[in-house]
Point group: C2
Chain length 256, copies 2
């Protein structure tokens, strides 16, 4: 049987330990092609580069693996993968990450990791974004690798049925403390911004974004609940942002 | 009665004719504060600036209107509006646009205009993104102004009920040819990328993103159908990307 073709990308850049961990998992499961940003692209959401040229270079970073670094955003990486690097080849799976930090709840919206996966899903490719709840460069990905292998193997065997995008978040605890996997929904939450305000060496004021994540979600069927209770969260996601429940109540707009 | 406080932003920057048109509409309906990017930010999606400082300056561009230009993304503008400029003030409505170009269908995902509106909606503010299906700087916003006034007045009076975000797209036809307003869902579609490949003056290859938008959507309850048939489309939108229909089919993942 032909080995599946697996596209790997991320938003932390080619040298992040998280993408190395993910490549170690998928190189045992299929033929792997890597296209990742040449600089950290966290928080880039679904940004694309339209006012500037994009550079793409083949690099030799992961032994025996075809890899490219790209000057654009995570979504640009996926677009270039499809149109230039993998042109005409059938891509069976796209995996993005493993992100350094949570993409649970509303973080999916800001996440370059998940936007890359969503872009591949828009192209009809089964796609999974993986994130570990540890921002540090020294994060330990050993448990994450076991979880990623389990989920990727399952999806390669069984597919996803009604949809083609998963948002997987992994708690920062040792493997033996992980209670299992929960398939759940995106929790409600919001960020409380606290801009740091300071003066630069030229005497000009600047702001630097910071903030705290707050979720008062009590529902047990959410990713936040799963993660707080020692489970890996898997949220099937989509690009349909329609708020179907609101359509009826707005029909008055049509009568003006 | 106290006049509503209306926040105006966009992604085309402070000098785009579209934001001028929108300000002309809302200045008659409430107290207006403008915070817009100091450079075009199309296609920035929900990007935020985390690795760099952000600048914010008060500017005198629109007569009698409090206005600020910001060096960040559209989402940064809204975050600064809430945390710094309007700190502690009750914002009644956020309007974003009027965008030069369509944000119907999946364009909502890439759109800085809609991401700014979504960011305000995440803060609990009723928010509307407006887009005219005309990319040119010379676009005629006269019909759009009439439509925007109608929709904003309706929302200020009636609210939105189940949700707080609208994606409004306006066809590029004269007002008298517009058949009405359709409240509908986001159409399925995809972009077919066609990267322009060229050589820079130093002899290095580069790629420049281009592409064509394709929708084979036949459903009459979609924004694409509405726009193709002379209607203004209004899609109530949300930040919940959960694909609820896929949860059940993935429960096998929990049994590993």
């Amino acid at each position: 049987m032909k080995k599946p073709l697996i596209l790997v990308t991320n938003d932390d850049g080619m040298f992040a330990p998280g993408i190395k961990a993910l490549i170690e998992v998928v190189r045992e499961l299929g033929e792997v092609v890597v296209i990742a940003p040449n600089s950290p692209q966290s928080g880039k959401g679904h940004a694309i580069t339209i006012h500037d040229p994009i550079r793409l270079h083949k690099v030799d970073v992961f032994e025996g693996i075809e890899a490219y670094e790209c000057s654009g955003t995570p979504v640009d990486c996926v677009k270039l993968a499809k149109s230039v690097v993998l042109k005409g080849r059938q891509t069976d799976l796209c995996v993005s990450g493993i992100n350094h930090g949570s993409n649970a709840s509303i973080n999916i919206i800001y996440s370059g990791t998940m936007s890359a996966a969503m872009e591949a899903s828009l192209e009809g490719i089964d796609s999974i974004g993986f994130s570990l709840l540890d921002f540090s460069f020294e994060a330990d990905f050993e448990a994450s690798k076991v979880i990623a292998r389990k989920i990727i193997t399952h999806i390669l065997e069984h597919g996803m049925q009604n949809g083609n995008l998963l948002n997987v978040n992994i708690p920062r605890i040792p493997l033996k403390e992980i209670k299992g996997i929960k398939v759940c929904k995106q929790a409600e939450a919001r960020w409380t911004e606290e801009f740091a305000e300071a003066i630069d060496p030229r005497g000009e004021k600047y702001y630097w974004l910071t903030g705290t994540f707050n979720s008062e979600e009590k529902d047990e069927n959410t990713d936040i609940w799963a993660l707080q209770n020692g489970f890996v969260s898997v949220v099937p996601s989509s690009h349909d942002l329609t708020n179907y429940d609101a359509i009826e109540g707005l029909k008055g707009l049509e009568e003006n």
